[in-house]
Amino acid sequence: MVATILLIVHGLVAVALLGALTHQTLATWAPGRSGSFFGRFRRVPPASFANAVVILYVIAALLGGIVYLYFRVDIRPSLERAGHWPALGFFDIKEHFISIGAALLPAYWVCWRRPRTEEPYRMRAALTGILAFIVWWGFLTGHVVNNIMGFGS
C-alpha cells in the first residue's frame, strides 16, 4: 500500500517535471512567436522554470529511489521470471541517466539563474535538452515497466 502511494506521488511529480522541462526546452530551442496554441506553449520565459525543475527533479528522484527498493524486492524477480529482459535493460538505463542528470542540476541552475554574458546560450540549451531527454526517458520507461504486468499483479 505504501509503495503504491509513493509510486503514484512519484508519477504525479514526474508529470509536473515533464511539463516544466518540455515547456522550457521548446522555449529554449524553438521559441514561439505566433499566437497559436503551440506558439504560446513555446513563448514562456524559460529561466522562470529553472527553480521548479530543480526542486521537482530532486523530489522525483528521491521518491524514485525509495520506490526502487520495493521494485527490486517485489517486482523485478517477477519480470526476470517472465523474461522481460529488454524492459529491465531500459530500466537500468533509466537509473543511470537519472544519476547523471541529478549531478547536472547545480550547473543547470547556475546557467539559468546566474547567467554570464560571455557564456554561450547553447550551454543552457544543451543542459536543458539533456535533462529533458533524461526525464522523458525515465517517464516512459517507468510507465512501461509499471504497466508491463498489469497494475497490482
Binding site: R72, I100, G101, A103, A107, M123
Partner: protein
C-alpha cells in the same frame, strides 16, 4: 573571487566529473556500499550474493548497487568540484566549458553500451 563564481566552477566541475566517474564506477563495479533491501542491510563496498551463496539462491538476497555507484561517483565528483572551486580562475578558464554537456552525453552513451547485454538475453 566571489562565492557565486566559486559555486559556478564547483557546479561545472562536479557535473562533468560525476558523468565520467559514474561510468567508471559502473564499468568497474565500484559501489561505495551495497544495499540488500529484503534484509534491510547495507554493507560497505561491493558485495555479490553469488560470492557467498549458490547463484541459484541469490534471489533470496537481491543486491542493489545503483545507490553505491551513485555515491562513489558523487564522492569523487565532490573532490573535483571543490578543486574547481578553490583553484584560481585563470587555471580553470583554460578548460573548455563544453565538457559540461559533452561528458554527460558520452557517459549516457557508455551506460547504454554497458547495458546492452540485457538486450541479448
Amino acid at each position: 573571487m566571489t562565492s557565486s563564481h566559486a559555486f559556478r566552477r564547483f557546479a561545472f566541475a562536479y557535473g562533468t566529473a560525476f558523468a565520467v566517474l559514474y561510468v567508471v564506477a559502473l564499468k568497474l563495479d565500484l559501489a561505495l556500499f551495497t544495499v540488500y533491501p529484503k534484509q534491510s542491510v547495507v554493507l560497505l563496498g561491493t558485495h555479490h550474493s553469488r560470492d557467498v551463496v549458490d547463484p541459484a539462491m541469490s534471489f533470496l538476497a537481491p543486491a542493489m548497487y545503483w545507490y553505491g555507484w551513485t555515491a562513489s561517483a558523487a564522492l569523487g565528483a565532490l573532490v573535483f568540484g571543490l578543486l574547481g572551486a578553490v583553484l584560481p580562475e585563470q587555471w580553470t578558464r583554460r578548460i573548455w566549458p563544453g565538457w559540461l554537456w559533452v561528458a554527460p552525453l558520452a557517459a549516457m552513451s557508455a551506460c547504454v553500451y554497458l547495458t546492452m547485454p540485457w538486450f541479448r538475453l
